[in-house]
């Protein structure tokens, strides 16, 4: 038996105890958004600290203005061992609507479905208690079997992820030296499907802007003024209608600066995923791909920037009619960024583009809710990704999908901006886990093979 096999076997043997620990943690209703559960959040943090201390970590509950953090260190006393941070969060979403749960959200239950699949039900079984325990239990197997870890590990478990992480950035800044590692591993994402492991390597960035166009000083009667008076809704519509050309490309000058084509090998790998554009659109009632012509839906979501109007309003919007030319019209716009697109540059270019289309006797104002964020991408060829992907492949006997995510995961940006660390996103969730919904679940196989995967990843990183 190789060393890895013996550790994997220790993990297998310990699975029932691992499950007990997961269920104990799920029983604590650590709902971070509801002040009524403040004590429960602390209780969850304390339990994790006790558990990690027992494992040999130097672990502590760390105060913040909100819910506490857990920070734990394990030093194998091997000067050559790389140092990684492992992130998860112990807080959960509120369980409402309660009447939709088959079993109570904080009384975890193991049920076997008609398909023979064993699932673990309870709020937080997947997001993120089940996921974070996959790496904790893998470390337990390593320590049980070898007395140490192959890497120097720092664990950071947050308690405010579901409520906007208000304390996170100040905490990272205040503890920069302690928390800065070679890279971070985040266990809060999904597999490609139940048989195919995945590492998320691309997250789009965002720029958000709001425009207000002011025409006449006051709302006007459209009969009396219709014709000669500028209508801000018309100006806004015209402006937004010129944002895309007929091929779906964004027309703002310089918008695509810093956008590179997806490398051939990555494209080939994505093609192997056999993603069905038709099915993807059909599920949401659509059938005609709306993005840039000539790009697949996956490429559009994972690797292409967009300009989206998220909201628009102006004039009379109640029942019936009101013959008004409004004084103002508004729109909220989000740009999703990829590659090396710079948020400040995109915003500046957009504003210049918009200004140029507004008649001289009208005004345009912009307000943005923040500076925006660039895309987070880790080169698919980086050694960390390669090693992790290979370790996952050994476990699942399938090529690891290197995927993108159209959305953004703020923690990745914070690690990069504050601590200068790249993040590797490995997770074992599935699309049907019902995160944030009633009957949240985590497949037993996700939990079990997740633990086994981390055993292998830790081994690969330490080699």
């Amino acid at each position: 038996m190789t060393r890895i096999d013996s550790i994997l076997s220790a993990a297998d043997k310990g699975l029932d105890r691992s499950l007990d620990r997961l269920f104990d943690l799920v029983r604590i209703p650590s709902i971070s958004t509801d002040p009524a559960y403040k004590a429960d959040c602390r209780k969850a943090a304390e339990r994790i600290v006790a558990d990690l201390s027992a494992l040999g970590f130097s672990a502590s509950v760390r105060e913040t203005p909100g819910h506490p953090m857990v920070v734990a260190h394990f030093d194998p006393k091997d000067g050559k061992a790389p140092h990684f941070l492992f992130y998860g969060h112990y807080d959960v979403q509120p369980p409402d609507p309660l009447d939709k749960w088959t079993t109570p959200p904080f009384e975890p239950a193991k049920r076997t479905g008609k398909d023979g699949i064993v699932r673990l039900y309870g709020r937080g079984t997947a997001d993120d208690k089940g996921q974070l325990l996959t790496f904790v239990e893998a470390m337990r197997a390593w320590i049980t079997e070898t007395g140490t870890l192959p890497v120097k590990a720092t664990i950071l478990i947050e308690g405010e992820e579901e409520s906007g992480s208000p304390s996170l950035v100040p905490f990272l800044k205040a503890n920069k030296a302690e928390l800065t590692c070679d890279a971070a591993f985040v266990c809060d994402t999904n597999m490609w499907d139940e048989k195919t492991p995945a590492i998320t390597t691309r997250l789009r960035g965002t720029v958000k802007d709001e425009i207000t166009i002011t025409g006449p000083r006051v709302d006007l009667h459209s009969g009396a003024y219709g014709g000669p008076a500028a209508n801000p809704i018309r100006i806004l519509s015209k402006l937004l209608s010129t944002l895309h050309d007929k091929n779906g490309k964004v027309t703002i000058p310089g918008f695509y600066d810093g956008v590179s084509d997806v490398p051939k090998e990555v494209k080939a790998q994505w093609a192997k995923l056999k993603f069905s554009d038709r099915k993807f659109l059909k599920e949401v009632g659509l059938s005609v791909p709306a993005g840039e012509k000539g790009k697949s839906a996956l490429e559009q979501v994972w690797a292409r920037p967009t300009a989206e109007v998220n909201g628009i309003w102006g004039g009379y919007t109640g029942a019936g009619t009101k013959t008004v030319i409004p004084s103002q019209a508004h729109a909220k716009i989000t740009f999703r960024l990829v590659g090396k697109q710079k948020p400040e540059k995109i915003q500046k270019a957009f504003r210049a583009f918009a200004k140029a289309q507004v008649p001289k006797d009208c005004q345009i104002e912009f307000s943005s809710s923040g500076p925006g964020s660039p895309a987070s991408e880790i080169a698919e060829t980086s050694p960390l990704i390669r090693k992790s992907a290979a370790a996952l492949k050994e476990e699942f006997r399938r090529d690891t999908a290197l995927i993108g995510s159209g959305g953004s995961i703020p923690i990745v940006r914070y690690f990069k901006d504050v601590l200068g660390m790249d993040s590797v996103l490995i997770g074992f969730g599935l699309n049907d886990d019902a995160l944030h919904s009633p009957n949240e679940k985590y497949n037993l196989s996700s939990f079990h093979r997740g633990i086994r995967s981390w055993v292998r990843v830790l081994g690969a990183l330490g080699r």
């Binding site: 006449p216 000669p228 809704i233 993807f280 009632g285 559009q300 998220n310 628009i312 102006g314 001289k360």
Partner: protein
Amino acid sequence: MKSLDDVLQGVDAALDDSLARLFELLRFPTVATDPAFHGACRDAAAWLRDLLAGMGFDARIEATTGQPVIVAEYAPKGLPSHAPRILFYGHYDVQPPDPLELWESPPFEPQLRKGADGETRIFARGACDDKGQLMTFLEASRAWIKARGSLPFRLTILLEGDEEGDSTHLDRYVAKNRARLKADVAFICDTGMWDAKTPAITTRLRGCIAEEIVVSGPSKDLHSGLYGGPARNPIRVLTKILGDLHDRNGRVSIPGFYDGVDPVPPATRRQWKSLKFPEKKYLKGVGLSIPAGEKGYAVYEQMWSRPTAEINGIYSGYTGAGSKTVLPAQAMAKLTFRLVGRQAPARIRKGLREFVKARLPADCKVSYKSEGGDSMAVTVVEKSPWVRLAQGALKDEWGRSPVLMADGASIPVVGTFKSLLGVDTLLVGFGLEDDSVHSPNEKYNLTSFRKGIRSWTRIIAGLAEQQERAKS
């Protein structure tokens, strides 16, 4: 000819009472387009019925498919058979007051405020449109009856409550009550003066159709990160349609839109030109400086003789504070088209729908709501005896000849009276451009109110005089 001075003095002496009555009427929040205010509409109708009954009218409230109408008949005894029959029309409903926060005093608590220019103004929703205006006629009738005992003509007063909303309710009512509403002429007080010193008779009105468009894309709101790109955004589809609605010269791009739009006759053009319409001032008054309508037409031509496509409202997605990365399932816009000449509402509507369809992706849907009723443009004969009579009366009151002008707005009932009753309408009104009709801080100058009452008094006197002449 008997002197008019006694009646006019009566008008002036009773002005405070007239104002008190107007204020009572203004206090009813008669926003007919909002069901929450339908009780107020009923209350206002009852108040108006009682007011007219108190003046000696046979006044009744009658149900329609919308808000009730008040029909009040005045048939003085001993009138010669050739005495004219007049139909006076006004509306007691008002526009919604939003945005409320921009009002200096609450919209339904009328206030008199004196400006730095010395002019006293009545502030309230409906102060001008149309409560203040309709009361000028009612108060003139009251003064006349008080001074002379009875009116020199048979009069039917029709006051409706759906003018700002769905005019089809009144159309249906008029169609069912043709015989009772038949008249030699209709008077309407819902238009403006040329300027603060120059009265006007309106002879052209634009027609109007309203259309609400809802574009539906995905079956539910989507996360714009996870779907942005491949998933169709209905806001983008809608703004593309709306962005295409006008070409770069400001012309409406719907095929066939200009069918039935005739050039203005040279005589009318000359008259308009002689008015020296103050284009710059007109736009500057509302904070603008560049005419936004069709290139090659003067501002007044754009308003009076050219059709338009206007977007009155647009709504979709997240509109609260901050941001929400959503791809909405639907996007909505409210449009109105102002029509001129012989433009036919049904054809315009069909043209719009084809225009939209041509720009709609195959997996999106569109639905329409046509509300408010359709009206064609109206042109009143300028050489009628009624216009002549009003010209004289207005000149006497204001010391200036009234301008025969056009109005870009629509008064659908004018077309209804013509098509269903065969009756022409005399449009005399005392509104001013800065009355903020349909906007916050709507007002009516006290001068408009007072001299409006006096103007109608003189018009009534003119009718009395006609009969004197006929007798002798």
